[in-house]
C-alpha cells in the first residue's frame, strides 16, 4: 500500500488520483472549517500538531488499514496553523479495487485520527 502524508501550513492543492488498471474506486474526503464553533461565529481555526508523534500515529493507522482491506494507496494532507472558514483542514484520498473497501478504509482512517493523532484546534474569533 502506497501512502503519502503531509502536515502543512499551506492551502491544500488537490491533485488528481493516480489510477492503475485494477483500481475501480476513489473516495476523497475534505474536512472543511465551519463558520461557527460552539454556536459562535469564527473566522478560522488554528491547528497545532505534535508533528513527530502525529506522523507516527498516522503510520500506525495506515498499517491497521493495510491489514484489514486491499487498499492501493492513501494520500492525506492535514493543515497546521491558521485555516480560514470554508477552507479544507483535512484532505484524504483512498484508492482501492472496489468502493466498499475504499469507503470503509476512509471512514476508519478519519475515526482513528480523531481518537489518536495529536492535533488540536483553537477557534480564531
Amino acid at each position: 500500500m502506497k501512502t503519502k502524508l503531509d502536515l502543512t501550513p499551506n492551502p491544500i492543492a488537490e491533485t488528481q488520483p493516480a489510477m492503475t488498471d485494477d483500481m475501480g474506486a476513489v473516495v476523497v474526503f475534505h474536512g472543511v472549517v465551519r463558520g461557527r464553533e460552539d454556536e459562535k461565529s469564527i473566522r478560522g481555526i488554528h491547528y497545532e500538531a505534535n508533528t513527530a508523534m502525529a506522523r507516527h500515529q498516522f503510520k500506525i493507522i495506515f498499517a491497521a488499514i493495510e491489514k484489514q482491506w486491499p487498499i492501493e494507496s492513501i494520500r492525506l494532507v492535514h493543515r497546521v496553523g491558521e485555516v480560514a472558514v470554508n477552507e479544507a483542514s483535512l484532505w484524504v484520498e483512498v484508492i482501492a479495487p472496489h468502493r466498499a473497501e475504499a469507503f470503509a478504509a476512509c471512514q476508519f482512517l478519519i475515526d482513528e485520527m480523531k481518537q489518536k493523532v495529536p492535533i488540536w484546534k483553537r477557534a480564531l474569533n
Partner: protein, 81 residues
C-alpha cells in the same frame, strides 16, 4: 534520572510553560511522573481524567516504566480533522 515533560494545546495555558524537567527515581512509572507534574501544576489536576499521555511518539499507560532522558507528552483529547 531526568525526564522532560511537554505540554500541548491548552495544557500549555494551564501550566504557563511549554515543558518542564523532573528528577525522578530510576524505574519511575509514567503514572507517578504525571502525579508529580499535577502537584507542580495544580490546574492540570482538574484535567486528570481526560489527559492523554505519550512517551516519545507512542501512547503509554500509567504503569509504563520510564528511562533516563525520556520525553513525556501530556495533552487533552485530540481534535484533528
Amino acid at each position: 534520572m531526568k525526564v522532560t515533560v511537554k505540554f500541548w494545546s491548552y495544557f500549555r495555558d494551564l501550566t504557563e510553560c511549554g515543558e518542564t524537567s523532573l528528577e525522578v527515581n530510576e524505574g519511575e512509572t509514567l503514572g507517578n511522573v504525571h502525579a508529580a507534574v499535577m502537584t507542580k501544576f495544580p490546574k492540570l489536576a482538574e484535567m486528570k481524567k481526560s489527559t492523554l499521555k505519550a512517551v516519545g511518539v507512542d501512547y503509554q499507560t500509567d504503569d509504563f516504566i520510564l528511562s533516563d532522558g525520556d520525553e513525556v507528552s501530556l495533552f487533552p483529547p485530540v481534535q484533528g480533522g
